[in-house]
Symmetry: C2
Subunit: 385 residues, 2 copies
Amino acid sequence: MRDVSIVGIGQIAVGEHWEMGLRQLALGAIQAALKDAGMDRIEMLIVGNALSGNLSAQNHVGTLIADFAGMAGIEALRVEAADASGGLALRQGYLAIASGLVDSVMVLGVEKATERSGSERDTALATVLDADYEAMPGAVPAAMAALLMRRYMHEHDVKLDQFEPFSLNAHANGALNPNAMYRNKMRPGAFAKAPIVADPVNLFDSAPEGDGAAAVILTTTERAVDMVPRPVRIRGSAAATDTLALHNRADMMFLRAANLAAGRAYTQAGIGPNDLHLAELHDSFTILTALQLEAIGFARRGEGWKPAVEGLITRQGRLPISTFGGLKARGNPLGATGVYQAVEIALQLRREAGDNQVDNARLGLALNLGGLGSTAVAHILERVE
Amino acid sequence: MRDVSIVGIGQIAVGEHWEMGLRQLALGAIQAALKDAGMDRIEMLIVGNALSGNLSAQNHVGTLIADFAGMAGIEALRVEAADASGGLALRQGYLAIASGLVDSVMVLGVEKATERSGSERDTALATVLDADYEAMPGAVPAAMAALLMRRYMHEHDVKLDQFEPFSLNAHANGALNPNAMYRNKMRPGAFAKAPIVADPVNLFDSAPEGDGAAAVILTTTERAVDMVPRPVRIRGSAAATDTLALHNRADMMFLRAANLAAGRAYTQAGIGPNDLHLAELHDSFTILTALQLEAIGFARRGEGWKPAVEGLITRQGRLPISTFGGLKARGNPLGATGVYQAVEIALQLRREAGDNQVDNARLGLALNLGGLGSTAVAHILERVE
């Protein structure tokens, strides 16, 4: 295999972009990434997108976007695995460069999430669950997260306000990020009083879906060091699955896919959790963040909320997470989320994170989930000194 | 890069499988491929699927199928590029093995095409076109094929019955294939009298969408030769794009993506078109078959219908195509089609094609298209002696 690095990154602000469709959102991120890398063409475009078929009546989006970006002729495809689409697109790009058969890949995550509203949007969001056994009886992802959270609180005797520090941290960081969907700071104590989405999941606990696009350009590390002043090396890359339906898991309180993906990525990188300087976790719901901290080796079973309560997850803490606001405050553009995570870690490792900078960051983990942890993708990114 | 071979193949009959959903269709092909390879587990599942989000309200199908097949834990994803999804899934599997990071991949194509009917199905099929500029004004793929065919007939002074031999050949071969959707032989002369789908495209000119699933298992050629008596080597693999919307093409009468993909695959394989012993082309409409023969170097511009009229495309001809019936008679299970093509060529190269056998086949081309040639994927498969 060939060693792989990121040589270009681009993103647009996550939000409600009523004036832009899928292709316009994509173009902004693509142009920014090309400019960042100082490139004008790439060989292959891999698009991570979760719901364009349902939300925009548009499939075949790899080719659509290659065409709109003036790159018709190159190879293009879409990777779909719910909100893990972006992370898996990055992994496919990584494998393509590693193979020795492709020299430059643009990995783009894009989602036009605001094209539908109300029950149409709920129906589309529910397609990431098991259509026959979860969505058909009426479940949506927030409802499944609520079941998971209620059970966790019961089994481990955890109170609702012990999840609050996750949201406080996300909003504190999001407030500094010009690309964040929500830049409001959250007042301590607001969590317990927030409107309920699906009891016990509340508004400050649940990440907002937004329109967005982010892109990274990959090439070999050998080429990268000559191309750009600060390449970001992909030192570990792995993916794993769990059951799609929550009720089929032998142990519902453990994110097995996240554990497997992170474990495989640690092994490939030859590091352990304590070597990380920051992590972008998939904080679509605070319960998932707590469970991810347990799955990746940062907390014992039932204690995933502790690192937050103890302040370890802030930018000054032992393991900063959601350093640009995470899904909660930066926003969750579904299939683009995994690429935003990679862009944000790259900014940290390049020391270009501005007000959001984590000091001395050299190794970062991106963990991107699909559904309620049914799919997990882990990437370990490293600053090339 | 590592050399890659196919060590297992599986398929189910294409048809209207009212009793089976997406996961059940998939399982049949997966089990057949594992049995064929003498394996009981694989590392990675790549699913080619075009329309499950729209037809079955089910996205996240990589994980769904890994789970249902008892493989939860492994890495899984879905690749989507309209009816080129299967071919692009094969290419991603090829790159994964070539990278040296993955040792076994199951590439599965699956489509549950009969879940919706009438205008719901048309709306879903139209999502492979440009949603804003083609589907919104009411176009569906058959209508775009009709525009293409009418223009071709006008520009090159070709008559409708000059397309008939494509259908005669497909049905003659499909009649012998137990996995074909339509096993009826077509009578010469029936073509011109067939009911019109979208003038001039008629019923015998247009491939039927069907439910289906096909799978291939990939590993390194080095391992393959010790594992199975007759591995099939992937000697060339390439993909390319054209504009998504037909009206944006500078030259609408030339399949540029097919030309680029086949050209890149020839170059990688170090062969030319005359070295091929058979080809599975994407014969969703006869006009596309004619244009593909021009794009891959088997006919001059405007003369893609001639190889059919001259009998070169039959199993006894110079370049047999649609040897198991093609999309026309075997059926077109959309995102699964590209994997059926690979399975069929593998059967030919292994000399296990039964009544459909092409004599002395050693090199075969699979050309899989998405939309009206907006995406193209070419694979050159070789018999390992």
